[in-house]
C-alpha cells in the first residue's frame, strides 16, 4: 500500500470503520511511513478536539419561548383549505376577495331598484350638459342608446363651466325637457324669470335663466327617472329654495353635483327621502315647458343629449344630489322640509353634527324624491 491509498482510508481507520483486512494493511503502512503517521496523529487530534468541545445548554426558558411562539402560529389548516389542497388548487386570498366583492356588488346592485333605474336611464340617455346648474331629466330607457359611462367624467369636467349661455339638449320628439336648474327655478318662480344682473359676469347662464340669485341655490342633477315624464314634473327644490332666499346677493353656497353614474356614486354625507307635496307642481310646469321649447340649443357639448319622452305626470322616484357648505346645512334642511315632506333622513358619513369646525369640505347630500301621495 502506498501513501496515496493509505491517506484516503485514514479517516476510516481512525473510526475503525474499515474491514479487518484493510485495518491491518493500514497499520502495516503506518509502521513504515512517518509521513502518514503524522497525518494520522493530526487527524485524530482534530476528531478529538471537535468531540471534546463542551456541550452547552440552550438559554434559560428556551423551550417556553419556542412554545409561546408556536402557540401564536395557527397550525391546522381549515377543512376547506384541506379540501383545496387535496385537489392541489391554490386559492389566493386576493382572488377570493375579488370574487367576494364582485358577488356583493351584484347583490347590492340587484337589491336597489333606484340604482338600477339610474343605470337604465343613463344607458338610454347620454345627456351630458356642461353646466354647473344642469339638470338632466333623463327619459326612459327606450330612447337613445349611448354610453352611460361617459357621463360622469364629462359632467364633472364641465361642472364649473359657465361659458355656455344655456345648455339644453336637443329634443327630437316634441316635448321639451328641462336641462338646467335655473330653468327648474323658473318652475317655482315664473314671475322672476328675468335676468339677474348681479351675477351676470361670472354666471351668465344662471343670470339668464334664474331671475334671482337664490341665497341657497340648491342646484341639482337628476340622475334617475323610471318612466318618461316631463322634467317639470320633478321636484323643483332648487327653485323652491331659491324662492325662499332672503339675500339675493349672496353667492351660492349650494352647488350642483354632477351627473353620477350608479357605479361611481359617491357616499353622501346625508341622505334624505322626501315626498313631493302635491301642491308643489301645478303651475310651474307650463312655464317650464314653454321656456324649454324656446330655448336655443347651444353648444356641441350639449348635442349628445336626451331625446325627450312623452310627457305626462307619472309616479317618479328621483334622486338628486346637492353639495352644501357645512354652515348652510341647517338652512338647507329647513328649506327642503318646507319644500317637501321629509320621509326619512340619515347622516351617512358624518358622525357628529358640529361639522362647522371639523369639516372643511362641502357636504354631499342625496335626496331621493318620491312621488307625492296626493
Amino acid at each position: 500500500m502506498n501513501c496515496q491509498e493509505a491517506q484516503l482510508q485514514l479517516s476510516g481507520y481512525l473510526e475503525k470503520s474499515l474491514d479487518a483486512i484493510r485495518m491491518k494493511s493500514i497499520e502495516t503502512h503506518l509502521s513504515s511511513c512517518p509521513f502518514c503517521r503524522a497525518e494520522v496523529h493530526g487527524l485524530s487530534d482534530c476528531i478529538r478536539l471537535v468531540s471534546d468541545l463542551p456541550v452547552l445548554d440552550p438559554p434559560a426558558g428556551f423551550t417556553q419561548r419556542v412554545m409561546a411562539h408556536a402557540r401564536e402560529i395557527e397550525l391546522e389548516p381549515h377543512s376547506w383549505q384541506r379540501f383545496f389542497a387535496a385537489f392541489k388548487v391554490t386559492v389566493p386570498v386576493q382572488a377570493a376577495a375579488v370574487v367576494l366583492v364582485s358577488v356583493l356588488a351584484i347583490l347590492l346592485y340587484q337589491r336597489q331598484p333606484e340604482v338600477k333605474n339610474i343605470a337604465l336611464s343613463e344607458k338610454a340617455s347620454p345627456a351630458v350638459l356642461p353646466s354647473e346648474v344642469e339638470q338632466k331629466t333623463i327619459p326612459a330607457a327606450k330612447n337613445s342608446p349611448t354610453i352611460a359611462s361617459e357621463q360622469p367624467s364629462r359632467a364633472r369636467n364641465t361642472k364649473r363651466d359657465n361659458n355656455d349661455p344655456l345648455e339644453t339638449a336637443p329634443h327630437p320628439i316634441g316635448k321639451a325637457r328641462q336641462q338646467s336648474a335655473p330653468a327648474g327655478a323658473s318652475i317655482k318662480d315664473p314671475a322672476v324669470a328675468a335676468a339677474k344682473p348681479e351675477n351676470a359676469m361670472d354666471k351668465p347662464l344662471e343670470s339668464r335663466l334664474a331671475p334671482r340669485r337664490p341665497a341657497i341655490q340648491a342646484q341639482e342633477v337628476s340622475t334617475a327617472s323610471d318612466s318618461p315624464r316631463p322634467s317639470a314634473d320633478a321636484l323643483a327644490i332648487g327653485a323652491a329654495i331659491g324662492a325662499l332666499s332672503r339675500s339675493p346677493l349672496r353667492p351660492s353656497p349650494f352647488s350642483a353635483e354632477t351627473a353620477l353614474s350608479p357605479l361611481s356614486e359617491p357616499i353622501p354625507d346625508f341622505e334624505f327621502v322626501v315626498k313631493r307635496r302635491s301642491s308643489a307642481r301645478a303651475v310651474p310646469n307650463e312655464a317650464l315647458r314653454k321656456r324649454s321649447e324656446t330655448t336655443p340649443v347651444s353648444t356641441g357639448a350639449t348635442e349628445r343629449s336626451a331625446p325627450s319622452a312623452p310627457s305626462g305626470p307619472s309616479p317618479i322616484v328621483e334622486i338628486r344630489w346637492f353639495t352644501v357648505a357645512p354652515e348652510h346645512y341647517e338652512q338647507f334642511r329647513k328649506e327642503l322640509a318646507a319644500e317637501a315632506i321629509i320621509d326619512a333622513e340619515r347622516s351617512v358619513a358624518a358622525k357628529e353634527m358640529d361639522f362647522g369646525l371639523k369639516r372643511s369640505r362641502e357636504l354631499l347630500i342625496k335626496v331621493t324624491v318620491l312621488p307625492s301621495d296626493g
Binding site: L8, L10, S11, G12, S17, G42, L43, D45, C46, I47, L49, V50, S51, D52, L53, P54, V55, L56, D57, P58, P59, F62, T63, R65, V66, M67, H69, A70, R71, I73, L75, E76, P77
Partner: protein
C-alpha cells in the same frame, strides 16, 4: 390525554416516541411539540452554535428551526426520522445564517476571543490553555466551508451514524466518507497553522 412533557426522555414509550409525537402534533396536539422541543433542543442548539460560533445567534436560529419545523409539520411524511428531518432544517437555516454578511462580521469579531460564551459553563478547573484551544477549534470551524464544518460537526461532535448523515445530506454514504475525510484534512491544516503560530508566539 395529558402527557408529562418532562420525563418523556426517560420513558420514551409508544406514546412519546418521536413518531408518535409527530402524529399527535399533526392532529393538533401542541403538547406533543413541547416534548419534541425538549428532546432535541440541546443537540440542535449545539450544532447550530458550533456552526455559527455565536451564542445569541445560535439561540435565535435554533428557535427559528423549531418554529419552522412546527409550521411545516403537516408536510412531514415520516419517510425519514423526525430528527433527521429536523437536522436538515437546522443545517439549512444555520448555513443561511452563516453566510449572511452580518454574521461574518460577528465571526471575525469572535476571533479575538471576546465573544466566546463557553466560560459560564466551564468549571474553574479548566485551564486557560484548554480554553484557548477550544477557541482555536471554533475559529477554525468558522473558517471552513460550511459543508465541511457541517459534516465534521455532525460526525465528530454529534456522533451521527453515516447512514443518517447520508440521509440528512442527501448524498451516498461513500460520498459522506470522502467529504468527511477532506473536511478533516482542511480542519487539520487550519489548526496546524494556529499551532505553528502559537509556537512561534511562545
Amino acid at each position: 390525554m395529558k402527557e408529562p412533557s418532562n420525563n418523556s426522555e426517560s420513558m420514551a414509550s409508544e406514546s412519546t416516541s418521536d413518531a408518535a409525537c409527530v402524529r399527535r402534533l399533526q392532529r393538533g396536539d401542541i403538547n406533543a411539540f413541547e416534548i419534541l422541543v425538549r428532546r432535541h433542543e440541546k443537540a440542535i442548539f449545539n450544532l447550530v452554535y458550533r456552526m455559527l460560533g455565536n451564542y445569541d445567534d445560535a439561540a435565535e436560529t435554533t428557535q427559528e428551526v423549531f418554529l419552522s419545523a412546527y409550521r411545516a409539520i403537516g408536510q412531514f411524511r415520516g419517510d425519514a426520522n423526525f430528527s433527521t428531518w429536523l437536522y436538515r432544517i437546522a443545517l439549512n437555516q444555520a448555513t443561511t445564517r452563516r453566510k449572511s454578511a452580518n454574521l461574518r462580521q460577528k465571526m471575525l469579531v469572535s476571533i479575538d476571543g471576546t465573544d466566546m460564551v463557553d466560560d459560564a459553563q466551564i468549571g474553574p478547573a479548566e485551564t486557560l490553555e484548554k480554553k484557548e484551544l477550544r477557541e482555536r477549534v471554533q475559529r477554525a470551524l468558522n473558517e471552513l466551508e460550511p459543508e465541511d464544518a457541517t459534516v465534521i460537526l455532525l460526525r465528530d461532535l454529534q456522533d451521527i451514524p453515516y447512514e443518517d448523515l447520508a440521509q440528512m445530506l442527501k448524498i451516498p454514504v461513500g460520498t459522506v466518507k470522502s467529504r468527511l475525510h477532506r473536511a478533516r484534512q482542511a480542519l487539520k491544516a487550519r489548526l496546524a497553522a494556529y499551532f505553528r503560530a502559537g509556537r512561534k508566539a511562545v
